[in-house]
């Protein structure tokens, strides 16, 4: 426990060092969870991918247009798309993650209402689109606005917060691989999201997972879609370096 006390008092700069070879959350998971993720049939997250495939071809909104109407085969048109999100969208004037980009398409092109955060439909479409980039490495956006937003996300990552006064880095950089109660702390990359978590008994977004961490250190979790969460996602995507997209991942 002495290490924890030292950690809580240590200046942040001491802890900023990142391990050279990054490890996906999958490497911290049990054999059963790894087997479940590797099995494309039994992986429960694939049920959402299937649902996303159906929604892809379903007309929506006043325009009665489906995603397929413009984008045709997702396996072709969406390949690599998830590697380019989150990023600053000039038209929207904001940083958009994949969920927000899908909703933007819905409102501007389909004239449909945006899908609610963590709704089955939004999760399904996001998982379906991200899944088309499975195995690919994200390409961090390099424009000035994205870089600035990413820097804000990086500050958030290193900022102490909550009653426990901990920053993300405290657990996910130096203590990855150590135990927290019965769980093993991962490096906190998020490259498998939206992911099926056994604890959630369903698929959920990265923002849902981040919010649970805010709550975990007894900080007030920003609402879904808040800039802090999107900026944090933007930073995490770059931080995850060469790790490949695993959507839909299976995690505890």
């Amino acid at each position: 426990m002495r290490w924890l006390a030292a950690l809580l008092c240590a200046p942040i700069t001491v802890l900023a060092a990142q391990p050279s070879a990054l490890r996906s959350g999958l490497e911290f998971a049990s054999a059963d969870v790894r087997a479940l993720q590797a099995d494309d049939f039994a992986n429960p997250g694939m049920l959402w991918v299937d649902r996303g495939a159906k929604l892809w071809s379903t007309p929506a909104g006043a325009a009665a247009q489906s995603c397929a109407g413009c984008h045709r085969e997702a396996a072709v048109s969406m390949k690599g798309v998830a590697t380019r999100y989150p990023r600053f969208d000039r038209e929207a004037g904001a940083v958009l993650n994949l969920e927000a980009r899908i909703n933007r398409c819905r409102s501007t092109r389909q004239q449909a209402d945006p899908l609610g955060f963590e709704s089955d439909e939004l999760l399904a479409l996001t998982a379906y689109v991200a899944h088309q980039s499975r195995g690919q490495v994200p390409i961090p956006a390099d424009d000035a606005a994205s870089r600035a937003a990413r820097e804000r996300g990086r500050e958030q990552y290193f900022r102490r917060q909550g009653q426990m006064n901990l920053a993300c880095t405290h657990c996910h950089d130096r203590l990855a691989g150590r135990r927290l109660l019965a769980e093993t702390i991962s490096e906190g990359h998020g490259n498998g999201y939206p992911a099926y978590r056994l604890e959630w008994q369903g698929l959920g977004s990265l923002q849902r997972r981040l919010r649970a961490c805010f709550t975990g250190v007894r900080a007030e979790a920003p609402p879904f879609g808040a800039p802090e969460l999107v900026e944090l996602e933007l930073y995490l995507t770059q931080r995850a370096g060469p790790l490949r997209i695993e959507t839909p991942a299976v995690r505890r």
């Binding site: 049939f41 039994a42 429960p44 159906k54 008994q201 369903g202």
Partner: protein, 105 residues
């Protein structure tokens, strides 16, 4: 109800084939409480029946002890070509069904 069925497209006469089914369903236990403190009603898929050519091959009576998004795997002998039918129903009366053809060579 969204489901995935895995039945091999074809098999040799007498071969043992593995059938798998995964259904998207919360299998709500009835023990959970929502954000307003109200009990979320129990709703589980309680019966699943698998038939081949009209004869029952396998059936399951399930309770809230079955994990969400239920998964099942069992093994049948391929005797003749035909169609598997899968039918299930939950506590709310919602039904699901799927079909899959097996060709025996």
């Amino acid at each position: 109800m969204l489901a995935r069925i895995q039945v091999p497209a074809q098999a040799r006469q007498g071969e043992i084939v593995t059938i798998r089914i995964a259904i998207q369903h919360p299998m709500e236990t009835g023990y959970r409480i929502d954000h307003f403190g109200r009990r979320i009603a129990r709703n589980v898929i309680h019966t699943l029946a698998v038939r081949f050519g009209g004869t029952e091959v396998f059936s399951a009576d399930m309770g809230s002890g079955v994990a969400a998004n239920p998964f099942l795997q069992f093994h049948v002998r391929a005797q003749a070509s035909g169609e598997f039918s899968f039918e299930w129903v939950d506590d709310s009366g919602a039904r699901g069904s799927e079909r899959a053809t097996l060709t025996v060579v």
